[in-house]
Symmetry: C2
Subunit: 180 residues, 2 copies
């Protein structure tokens, strides 16, 4: 899903982002359906997961930062090319979860996923975060996702067998941010 070939890059907010990508951090009402469409287009998520992706945007629109959901929306010429959603884990001091990261098929293969992840980590660091967690499936179909996180500095800290369903475990990856 997140192939990282030689990207065409431009600098946005200190990061090397693919050319012509513009970032915004405050979802608008139209982003509920844009996120739903993007996540569906990837062909990577089940219906219940797609609903949750859209619900997190709605929750943010309703409750603002209080929702605990923060976003990095990457647009190109008015289209949503990719996005990430993260937030502090309740009852922890310095732990954050990456809830979502998705790149529209026609924008994949340009390093955009890695850039969105890097931008989320920059924001997490600013918020005082140290541990960044991301969860994914242990199934063979998610091998490219796991490799993506490993290339981005994440390591698998735990595996919960049969978590998603019998035969489909959860891998918990963590990246420990260093202060810059």
């Amino acid at each position: 899903m997140f192939r990282n070939r030689t990207p065409t890059i431009a600098t946005v907010d200190g990061h090397a982002f693919p050319k012509d990508i513009r970032l915004h951090y405050t979802p608008r009402a139209s982003d509920v359906e844009r996120v739903r469409t993007l996540v569906t287009e990837t062909g990577f998520f089940r219906l219940d997961e797609i609903s949750i992706a859209a619900e997190l945007v709605e929750e943010r629109l309703k409750s603002g930062h209080e929702s605990g959901y923060h976003f990095v929306m990457a647009q190109k010429q008015g289209n949503l090319a990719g996005y990430g959603c993260f937030g502090p884990i309740p009852c922890t001091l310095t732990s954050y979860d990456i809830y979502w990261i998705a790149v529209a098929p026609k924008f994949q293969g340009k390093g955009l996923g890695k850039c969105i992840l890097g931008e989320m980590e920059r924001l997490i660091r600013e918020m005082g975060g140290i541990q960044v967690y991301v969860e994914t499936s242990t199934q063979p179909g998610y091998a490219s996702t796991r490799r993506f996180y490993e290339r981005c500095g994440y390591r698998c800290e735990a595996v919960l067998d049969d978590f998603y369903e019998p035969g489909d475990g959860k891998a918990i990856y963590v990246n420990r941010l260093v202060k810059r």
Copy 2:
């Protein structure tokens, strides 16, 4: 927190419950403050955790079963002696989380915690659940909690270092329910 000495038992809903304990499963408005008081009295939880315990009851009152929060409330002579809160983990087929289990200090040491946990497992089994997860701290102060879960058939499947805060990791315990 959950010592399991020789309990005074009576049978409630097929379980061996301490004498005179009555169960109910549908929180009432008054349970928000009763849960807050009980959780505070244990002396075991931080303020932000106590707020969350009460919020889960509110969420259930607002959204019913749709909230995803299910309860076992154990009363004795009108007082809340202990309670548990659990629910299906979103995007999983057969996994459930035990979110809370707490017993008021004056009702501890009678096996009530173990009975409430057993009753939650019975309900989870009825709902089709297999994996039951519970999370706790790796710190020495939680050794009795960890021993409680181990005595109840849970095993530590993963540890996430520094999860709650630097030096305070999260232990993830799981119990795999067998069909009866």
